[in-house]
């Protein structure tokens, strides 16, 4: 049996998925990155290797997410792609009629506009992370509610409190204020969900034509409160795919399949990387005024990759 592995290493979570030749998802893992992408990837690989069918051969590997390059050199990826393309590929496989993808992750949020199965436009949050998963996490922690119950609280609200979602700092002080004047928790949380959605629509999705079918994915899609706020604000049905939190990884696996169908042998180093001692080190190149920050990646004592240089001198060194 042959399969393709997709790895999506984001700011908050590290996701893996394995698909077979027909594009069926065989298994997937969702793990928290905890700021240590190397360890997270190793851990996820170890977990997923136990779920794989016996005698499974990995024919190709794709990586995506903000640590895609790091993950790519670590496992030996055949394709390293940005998360927008990866998400779009994954989603359109399951929803050929999708025309809008709303994706809210740990630190970024994006909207992808699809027409006839092709990405025609996209946008990501620019200078601010207001309205992403990290902020919800933070607030859940502050209120002492487990993040997976956050949405349910919102749904119980009868009339939501009005909270400004423009900036997380102001949103938080708004929430504290509402608490102090005696609003109940459910209403405040519902208000927060609405504020985040308003902010997303006014910011990331500004000027984009949101047509059905609308797919909502990324870690935040687990939050029913946000889903219902989107439905309220847009007046349209929002679908949450079964694999909403690992769609990037699934997309990366599809990209690997696409790449390998072109021929060639995989660069995948095998599941042995679980036990390798990988480390990174950053250094500043002082040879010109660009002062690039170079990342040095080594396995054991051997340096296997450099990146981050503008001129290519370090990258071509090995």
């Amino acid at each position: 049996m042959k399969g393709y592995l997709g790895i999506d290493v984001g700011s908050v979570s590290t996701n893996l998925a394995v698909i077979d030749e027909e594009g069926t998802v065989l298994c997937h893992r969702y793990l928290l990155t905890h700021g240590q992408p190397i360890r997270a990837v190793q851990e996820a690989l170890r977990e997923i290797s136990t779920y794989l069918p016996k005698g499974m051969e990995i024919r190709g590997v794709g990586t995506t997410g903000s640590a895609r390059q790091l993950a790519g050199v670590m496992v030996g990826a055949d394709v390293v792609k940005n998360e927008i393309t990866a998400h779009a590929i994954g989603t359109t496989h399951f929803f050929p009629h999708a025309r809008t993808i709303l994706e809210i992750g740990g630190q970024d949020s994006k909207i992808i506009i699809i027409r006839d199965g092709l990405v025609v436009d996209f946008a990501m949050n620019t200078v601010c992370a207001a309205g992403t998963g990290s902020f919800l996490d933070q607030q859940a922690l502050r209120l002492g509610i487990p993040i997976d119950q956050f949405g349910r609280y919102a749904l119980r609200s009868k009339s939501s409190a009005r909270i400004a979602g423009r900036c997380t700092v102001f949103a938080e002080s708004d929430m504290v204020h509402k608490q102090q004047i005696g609003c109940n928790l459910e209403d405040i949380i519902a208000g927060l969900c609405e504020a985040l959605v308003r902010n997303y629509l006014n910011n990331v999705a500004k000027g984009k034509e949101i047509l059905e079918s609308i797919i909502f994915q990324g870690g935040v899609a687990a939050n029913e409160g946000i889903q219902s706020a989107f439905e309220g604000e847009l007046g349209k049905k929002i679908y949450i795919p079964k694999f909403f939190n690992v769609m990037g990884a699934i997309g990366a696996a599809f990209l690997a399949q696409e790449q390998m169908d072109g021929g060639g042998k995989t660069h995948f180093k095998g599941f042995e990387v679980i036990n390798l001692h990988c480390k990174t080190r950053s250094l500043e190149c002082k040879e010109c005024e660009n002062e690039c920050e170079i990342v040095e990646f080594s396995i054991g004592e051997e340096v296997t990759a450099y990146w981050g240089d503008r001129c290519g001198k370090w990258e071509n060194k090995l």
């Binding site: 940005n82 998360e83 393309t85 436009d121 200078v127 005024e289 001129c311």
Partner: protein, 363 residues
Amino acid sequence: MKITVPHCGQMDIFINALCRKIGPDFVIPPKTSPRTLDLGIKYSPESTCLPFKFILGNFIEALEKGADTICMISDHGPCRVGMYDIVMQNILREMGYQFNWITMDDTRILRSYLLKFDRERRKRKVSLVEAIRALLFSWKKMNVCEEMERWTHKMRPYEVDRGETTRVSLECLRLIDGVTDLKELKIAREDALSRLANIEQDRTRQPLKMVITGEGYMVINPHANQDIERRLGEMGVEVTRTMWFTSQIAHAMRLDLLKKRSKSKAIRASKRYLPHNIGGECNASIGYAILYAREAYDGLIQLLPFGCMLESVAKNILRIVSKDYDMPILTFSLAENLSETTITTRLSAFVDLIQRKRKGREK
């Protein structure tokens, strides 16, 4: 008198050429580096736009290097550059620097420049012929530099070793910077062209064609736009940009009337979407999108410093242009906290989008 100006594209080569011939003494600020930006951020109002921070940083470093006179352009339009000079002077004086300040008021008033130039010339006892010759030589040199840059844009998507085109092109610019007369310039130009032509290439590739437009400072300065031309080139895109040192001067002097892609043509083309010329590069950004869409370019990237009012207007109109002409447009709002991953993620997604669109059409 030791004059300094902010870095702007390859303008330092022009100024070097001119002042080596007829003076006055110029202090070119050190190349814009992370330190420049750090200094700029430290002393600028937090909410000001990115060019302000870079330029202030340039001035601080130039003053450290011994400059005593600062030359800075200004404008009367709605662009914030109109307030740059007063605010910058105040900041620098509060920091304890002493200097003279020359405001180059409104780039469209050419006569006053020429008068200033002429006064300076007489003071320095440079003959008129000599001065005109020096100006023409520097102008020609600048044209050769920009020709090199255009070639670099064309060659980069074909390069086999990543970074080679950039390296060769830097060598060529240094070569051209060093020449002192027209004869040498001609030789250097040919030498540079052959060096570029000798770069190992893979001509089987089919690069996409993209144009970069938007706010002038961001378009012209690789240090401000995170080296977007190089990044795109290395992703296999042939880029061109709408803003050049010579094109700006030529536009101000109305010397570009016959050029195919002149700024005035762009402004005229924007009329259908924005009848009133609101200043800055706003109308030109819109117009260029139309001009390049007609030339069947695959995509356009608009650059603006975060918070730029004029380009934000253009951004919203560009959405309609994008639809009308079926050309994908990506807008980049740049601030100092943008990480490298943020840039490459968006750029590569944009390149993917266009590539898949092209593949879809071929099918």
